[in-house]
C-alpha cells in the first residue's frame, strides 16, 4: 500500500491555496525582521493562521485516506473521508500510462502519474495521482514494458530539425494567446500587473509607430498584429520545450514515448489499444512530402496541450515499412478518388467567403466610416486564410480518396486546413454514411462519411465520390448501408 506524494496535502487542503503564494511573496518582500513586529503580526493574524491550520489539517487527513494499492492485475486507488471512493483499474484495460516529471517537482522527487482506459465518453484521464519517484516507478512497472530483445530496430529517429519544424507548423497565435490568458487568470494580481503593463507599453509603442512610420495602418491593427506574433512565438517556444528530446521505442505489443525538456513526459502505450493512425499535413508539408504521424489512443494527447504524436515530422517516403507493425503504411495508392468535376463541393464555401469579404468590409465602412481603416485591415487579414483554404481544398480534390486492402482502410481527406491520411483496421469502422445533396444527385456523386472508434467522435469525410464507388467501399467494409438504387 502506498500513499500519494505529501505535496498532495496542499492540493487537498484547498483547490487554490497556491494563490496565497502571491500575498505571501509580497509580505516577504515588505517584511523587516523585528521581534516586536512578529508579535504584533501574530496578535492580528492568529485567527487567519488558525483557519489555515485547519485547512491544512483537513488536507492531511484527506491525504492519509488516499491510498494506492498495486495488486497482481489492478491498480486500486481509494480516497475520501466521508464519501469513500475506490477505483480499480485492471492493468489489461490500461491503454496509456503517463509519468510526468515537472521541473518544479524535481526537488521534491514528485511525479504526476496518470493512466487512461478506453472507457468514458470524453477525453478525460481515468486516474490521476501525484506520487513519489519510487511509487511512480512501481506503477509504471505494472504496465507491460517494451521487450529490449524484440524491439523494432528501424523506427525513424526524431532529430532536432524534425522537432523544430513540428514546433513551427503546429504553433499558433491563438494557443499563445490562451497561455497568456491562463497566466492572466491564474497568476493572481502580480501576473495581471505584468500583463497590463506590457500591453500598455505595447499600445504606446504602436501609437508611436503609427504616428511616425506606418501612418496608414491603424494603431489597434498593429497592436493586434504584434500581440499575435508575440503569442505565436510563445506558443513556438512552449512547443519546442514540449517535444524536444522526443524518443520512441516499440515492440509489437507496447510503445514507449518520451518527450519534453522542462516537463518530461514518459508514455507507455498498449499497441492493441491504438484505434487508428493519422498522418497529418498542412499545405506546405504536403508540397514537401512531409508528414506528422499521429496515433489515436485513449489517453494519449487527451489533454488539450499535447498532440498525440508518434513521429514529429518525417518525409512520407522515408517512413518506409518501419512503422508497419504499428499500423502506419506509407505510399498507398488510392482505389477510389473523387471526381474532378465535383471540385465545387470542395471549394464552394471557401470561394464564396473569399469573394464576400471585401464587399462586406465596404458595406461596414459605409455604415461606420470611423472604423473604415480597421475594417479594411480585418478584411485583408481574413482574406489571407480564406484564399489559403481555397488552395487547400483545391489540392484536396485531387489528393483525397479511399483505399481498402486486406484488413486495412485508408482514407485521405482534408479537414479545414489540414490533410489527413487515416489508416485503420476495418473492424474499427463503427459507422458509414453516404449522403447526396440535390446538387450532387444529377451527376451521381455523393459524400462518404466514416466514423472510427475512439474516445471522441472521429469522423472523416470524402466528398464528390462517385455513388457506385461509395457503394463499393461500403460493401468492402461489410456494412449494410447501401443506397436504395444500388440495392435494387
Amino acid at each position: 500500500m502506498y500513499h500519494e506524494h505529501p505535496l498532495r496535502i496542499l492540493r487537498y487542503s484547498a483547490k487554490n491555496i497556491w494563490l496565497l503564494l502571491f500575498p505571501l511573496l509580497r509580505g516577504i518582500q515588505a517584511f523587516h525582521f523585528d521581534p516586536e513586529g512578529i508579535y504584533a503580526w501574530l496578535r492580528g493574524a492568529w485567527f487567519d493562521i488558525l483557519i489555515l491550520g485547519v485547512i491544512i489539517m483537513f488536507g492531511l487527513v484527506r491525504w492519509n485516506f488516499s491510498r494506492i494499492d498495486i495488486t497482481e492485475d489492478s491498480i486500486v486507488h481509494r480516497e475520501g473521508v466521508l464519501l469513500r471512493v475506490r477505483t480499480a483499474i485492471p492493468i489489461s484495460s490500461i491503454s496509456v500510462a503517463i509519468a510526468e516529471y515537472p521541473l518544479l517537482l524535481i526537488p521534491f522527487r514528485g511525479v504526476r502519474f496518470s493512466c487512461d482506459t478506453r472507457a468514458g465518453l470524453l477525453k478525460s484521464i481515468d486516474m490521476k495521482l501525484l506520487v513519489t519517484r519510487k511509487v511512480a516507478a512501481q506503477l509504471m512497472k505494472c504496465v507491460p514494458e517494451v521487450d529490449r530483445k524484440k524491439k523494432l530496430a528501424d523506427i525513424p529517429k526524431a532529430d532536432i530539425w524534425s522537432v523544430l519544424l513540428f514546433s513551427v507548423f503546429f504553433s499558433s497565435g491563438f494557443s499563445g494567446a490562451v497561455y497568456i490568458a491562463a497566466f492572466f487568470f491564474k497568476g493572481g494580481d502580480i501576473a495581471q500587473d505584468i500583463i497590463t503593463r506590457s500591453l500598455s507599453r505595447l499600445t504606446e509603442t504602436t501609437s508611436k509607430l503609427t504616428f511616425g512610420v506606418l501612418q496608414k495602418i491603424p494603431a489597434t491593427a498593429i497592436a493586434v498584429g504584434i500581440f499575435f506574433i508575440a503569442a505565436w512565438l510563445l506558443s513556438f517556444i512552449v512547443n519546442l520545450f514540449r517535444y524536444s528530446r522526443f524518443h520512441v521505442e516499440s515492440d509489437s505489443k507496447s510503445l514507449n514515448i518520451g518527450c519534453g525538456v522542462i516537463n518530461r513526459r514518459v508514455y507507455k502505450i498498449t499497441s492493441d489499444h491504438i484505434n487508428f493512425t493519422d498522418l497529418r499535413q498542412n499545405l506546405i508539408m504536403k508540397l514537401c512530402g512531409a508528414v506528422t504521424v499521429n496515433i489515436n489512443c485513449a489517453g494519449y494527447g487527451a489533454d488539450s496541450q499535447h498532440l498525440p504524436v508518434l513521429m514529429p515530422i518525417k518525409r512520407e517516403r522515408k517512413l518506409g515499412r518501419s512503422l508497419e507493425p504499428l499500423g502506419v503504411v506509407g505510399g498507398v495508392k488510392l482505389d477510389f478518388r473523387p471526381s474532378p468535376a465535383g471540385i465545387g463541393s470542395y471549394i464552394f464555401w471557401p470561394v464564396a467567403a473569399a469573394l464576400a469579404i471585401f464587399p462586406l468590409s465596404d458595406l461596414l465602412s459605409e455604415f461606420f466610416p470611423r472604423w473604415a481603416e480597421l475594417s479594411l485591415f480585418a478584411a485583408i487579414m481574413l482574406e489571407i486564410p480564406t484564399v489559403w483554404l481555397v488552395a487547400v481544398k483545391t489540392t484536396a480534390t485531387f489528393t483525397s480518396g479511399v483505399s481498402i486492402y486486406d484488413k486495412k482502410l485508408v482514407i485521405r481527406c482534408s479537414h479545414w486546413t489540414a490533410f489527413h491520411t487515416v489508416i485503420a483496421d476495418k473492424e474499427n469502422v463503427v459507422k458509414v454514411q453516404i449522403y447526396q445533396s440535390f446538387l450532387q444527385k444529377p451527376s451521381r456523386r455523393c459524400t462518404l462519411c466514416v466514423w472510427l472508434c475512439g474516445e471522441t467522435v472521429a469522423k472523416y469525410r470524402v466528398r464528390a465520390l462517385r455513388l457506385r464507388d461509395a457503394a463499393k467501399i461500403v460493401e468492402l467494409l461489410e456494412h449494410d448501408v447501401r443506397h436504395k438504387n444500388e440495392k435494387n
Binding site: 500500500m1 485516506f65 491510498r67 494499492d69 495488486t71 492485475d73 489492478s74 486500486v76 481509494r78 475520501g80 466521508l82 464519501l83 469513500r84 471512493v85 475506490r86 477505483t87 480499480a88 483499474i89 485492471p90 484495460s93 482506459t117 478506453r118 472507457a119 468514458g120 465518453l121 481515468d126 472508434c453
Partner: protein, 152 residues
C-alpha cells in the same frame, strides 16, 4: 437472473439529508434577508420542494429502480416520469468505481459505477452486500472488495 432492489435505508438517509439541507437553507435566508415576506415565500418554496422530493419523487424513484443481473450482463431499470432501461455486458467493463459512506450497511449509500466503452452505468442505492455481489461478477471485483475491507 437475479433482481436487486435498492436499499430502503437509502431513502431514509436521503430524506434526512434533504431535511438538513432545507433547514440550513431556510436558516440562512432567515439570517441574511431582513424582509419577512421574502423569507416566508422562500421558506414555503423550499419546504414544498423538500416535501415533494421526500414523500413523492424519491419514493416513486426507489420503487422504479431495480437491477437485473444475468451471467453476461446487468440491466438497470429506472425513471419516474420517463422509464429507462440500460444494459451493459460485464465483458465491456473497463474499470469500476465504488462509492460508499461510513456505516454503509445502515445508510444505503452504496454506489457502483461501471465504466464501459463510450460511457458509464451507475448502480445507485444498493445494499452493501448486493453491491459486492454485483462487483464479484466483473474481473476487477477482488481488488475493490479487498480494498474496502482494508479501509472499513
Amino acid at each position: 437472473m437475479k433482481t436487486y432492489k435498492p436499499d430502503r435505508h437509502g431513502l431514509t438517509t436521503l430524506r434526512l439529508l434533504i431535511m438538513l439541507a432545507s433547514a440550513i437553507l431556510i436558516g440562512a435566508v432567515w439570517y441574511f434577508i431582513p424582509v419577512k415576506m421574502i423569507v416566508l415565500i422562500i421558506a414555503a418554496a423550499v419546504g414544498t420542494a423538500a416535501i415533494f422530493s421526500m414523500f413523492v419523487y424519491y419514493p416513486l424513484y426507489f420503487r422504479s429502480l431495480s437491477y437485473d443481473s444475468t451471467e453476461r450482463e446487468i440491466i438497470k431499470h429506472s425513471g419516474v416520469f420517463i422509464k429507462s432501461h440500460q444494459a451493459v455486458l460485464y465483458s465491456t467493463v473497463q474499470y469500476t468505481t465504488v462509492v460508499t459512506t461510513p456505516f454503509a450497511r445502515h445508510t444505503g449509500f452504496n454506489f457502483v459505477i461501471f465504466f464501459v466503452y463510450g460511457g458509464q452505468l451507475r448502480l445507485l442505492f444498493l445494499r452493501y452486500d448486493d453491491a459486492m455481489e454485483i462487483l464479484s461478477r466483473t474481473s476487477v471485483s477482488r481488488n475493490v472488495e479487498g480494498g474496502d475491507r482494508d479501509v472499513s
